[in-house]
């Protein structure tokens, strides 16, 4: 049976309002806001959804691989409840603030330890640091082909066929297996999980590996110099007056045609 490994990072909910986001400029990291729940990174959810869509029509096994400093069980269980067959966690204090290079090495070692696989799915980038690098490091380390920004993938005659998003349309590309595919929001949002499905997986044990299990070694290819809230170019907004929406619209038209050169 074909085996898909989906790499999923757990992060602080990226939908957090701007007002609660603060950076610790001295230590070059964000200050975790209180009360914001940990979730799977948005694009990694798209990757899991792409795998679940394959499983609807083709027999396959899905393993979710997650790595981080702490991996809340409730988040990992969601993957099981949605239809992942296995979840593997790689957890430890070593995995805080990692360089993409170190992360890719450790994940590649974890993938080798999981064993045989046909496809690796990841999100296009983490929805926290927006780096977009780890997938490439995994493909390079495992020496497998990769296809970026898929919106759909399926097995066909011992290959994978992927529709990928390019700037002016959709390209169909096929690849020998094993291969790695990255996904983005074009796949569609991850399906909802039902309470009964969550209850069913509550007692499932989730294997946890440590840094030494994946021969973790910290490497730094990038040196961070500064982390700061950018000048968003806040401007004084002229609020167009009017007694009714229609009148405001008319006043806006007058104002713009007078003041803005087009």
């Amino acid at each position: 049976m074909p085996h898909i490994i989906v790499c999923m990072k757990i992060i602080v909910d990226p939908e957090m309002p701007f007002s609660v986001f603060k950076v610790d400029r001295e230590n070059l990291k964000p200050i975790p806001p209180a009360g914001m729940p940990p979730v799977f990174s948005t694009f990694d959810e798209n990757a899991l959804e792409a795998a679940l869509k394959i499983k609807e029509s083709q027999e396959c096994k899905i393993t979710v691989l997650s790595m981080g400093k702490t991996l809340p069980k409730a988040v990992l269980q969601k993957a099981l409840a949605l239809g992942a067959d296995e979840v593997v966690g790689v957890e430890g204090p070593e995995f805080e603030d990692l360089d993409a290079f170190s992360t890719a090495q450790a994940l590649s070692n974890a993938i080798k330890k999981i064993g045989e696989y046909d496809l690796i799915f990841t999100g296009r980038q983490g929805a926290d640091w927006d780096a977009g690098l780890v997938w490439a490091g995994i493909a390079e380390t495992l020496e497998i082909p990769s296809i970026a920004i898929g919106r759909k993938a399926e097995f066909q005659d011992g290959k994978v066929v992927v529709e990928r998003c390019v700037s002016d349309g959709i390209e169909t590309v096929e690849s020998d297996l094993p291969a790695l595919v990255t996904f983005s929001s074009e796949v569609g949002e991850l399906r909802n999980v039902s309470l009964s499905a969550l209850m069913k997986v509550k007692k499932r044990q989730i294997p946890k590996w440590s840094a030494s299990d994946v021969d973790f070694e910290k490497v730094e290819t990038m040196t961070m110099r500064d982390l700061y809230e950018p000048d968003l170019g806040e401007v004084d907004c002229f609020m167009v007056p009017g007694e009714s929406p229609e009148e405001m619209g008319r006043n806006l038209a007058k104002k713009l045609l007078e003041e803005v050169s087009l």
Partner: protein
């Protein structure tokens, strides 16, 4: 190994002209090479090299072309091999890409292959003490991170579309295109191009790329009919329509017209945001517009902090009034 030197740009053609994103990367590439007192090199890969000499007009000190029939369609497998060989030959200190479907794919794989550091989607690049500093939005644009590549060379980065104006073009500047001999090993190519379907909304997309006025709809449109209304507004200015991620997810606006962090970046004379709250992920695609106008029923929407003109109202009636008045004034 000889010392690595010069700024190398992975260039792209749009037909027989240099693509506009490549011209943008040329502007920042020229600034970096100037600061370093090094040369700016432009590399074009493909099945032929027609139009490559245009790179001189945009300020390249040398233009190189690497041609091979296997490079007709973009595939990571073939382009990665070609880039690896080109880097071996040219030995640059910096390699720049545009952050588009090719750059976001090729730049990180090349960097990992060369065992060097890389930063994608940079909005600024500068030289400090001979080293390239990358400035990159993180956390959906809530913060910016400045970094440099630690010890390894070359330094690789991709540049956000729209972050820089295209380099100035001087048609008097001409030169010979250097031929870069490549040998792509077909046995290492594991992926195959099957087909390409141009987006159904290609005409709309081309319109968006060159539009002076963009009218963009968001979650607040509430329904498909709202698109007809913003289209009517766009038509009054010979402009284009676009949308935010929620408008795309609801199926009101085609995916290829999505403005934002993971979508298109535009900087028209006027950007009219209709029913868009102003999430940073969206603003990443339009904040460089000359004039931003927001129409939103929520007066607390963050978009008003980033707009020059604001209307707090139901968009439907407001836009109908707006369209009527524009027609009346323009006659």
């Amino acid at each position: 190994m000889t010392e690595c030197k010069n700024v190398l740009i992975f260039g792209e053609m749009d037909g027989e002209s240099l693509s506009s994103v490549t011209a943008q990367v040329m502007r920042i590439g020229k600034a970096l090479s100037g600061d370093l007192n090094e040369e700016l090199h432009l590399l074009l890969l493909g099945s032929d090299a027609q139009g490559a000499e245009e790179g001189y007009g945009y300020g390249a000190d040398k233009v190189f072309a690497g041609t091979d029939p296997l490079l007709e369609n973009y595939l990571t497998d073939t382009y990665l091999q070609a880039m690896e060989q080109a880097v071996g030959e040219l030995n640059p200190s910096i390699i720049l890409f545009a952050q588009n479907d090719k750059g976001l794919d090729l730049a990180p794989r090349l960097a990992f292959r060369l065992k060097t550091g890389v930063a994608l989607d940079c909005v600024d690049l500068k030289i400090d003490g001979g080293v390239m500093v990358t400035v990159k939005p993180v956390f959906g644009g809530k913060a910016h991170a400045d970094a440099n590549i630690a010890e390894s060379r070359p330094q690789v980065a991709s540049v956000r579309e729209g972050a820089f104006d295209p380099a100035d073009y001087d048609e008097s500047k001409k030169g010979e295109v250097g031929n870069l001999a490549l040998s792509i090993d077909g046995s290492k190519v594991k992926t195959r191009f099957v087909k390409k379907e141009k987006d159904e909304s290609l005409a709309l997309m081309l319109k968006l790329a060159g539009a002076n006025v963009v009218v963009s709809g968001g979650r607040g449109l509430k329904k498909q009919e709202g698109v007809d209304l913003i289209q009517a507004t766009a038509d009054l200015f010979d402009g284009a329509i676009a949308g935010s991620r929620p408008a795309v997810d609801n199926g009101w606006i085609p995916n290829s017209l999505q403005i934002g962090l993971t979508g298109k970046k535009v900087n028209p004379q006027m950007y009219i945001a209709v029913g868009i709250s102003g999430a940073l992920q969206h603003m990443a695609g339009c904040s460089k517009s000359k004039t931003i106008v927001a129409i939103n029923s929520d007066e607390g929407a963050p978009i008003f902090k980033m707009s020059h003109y604001g209307v707090v109202a139901d968009y439907k009636e407001a836009l109908e009034g707006f369209n009527d008045e524009v027609k009346r004034i323009k006659g």
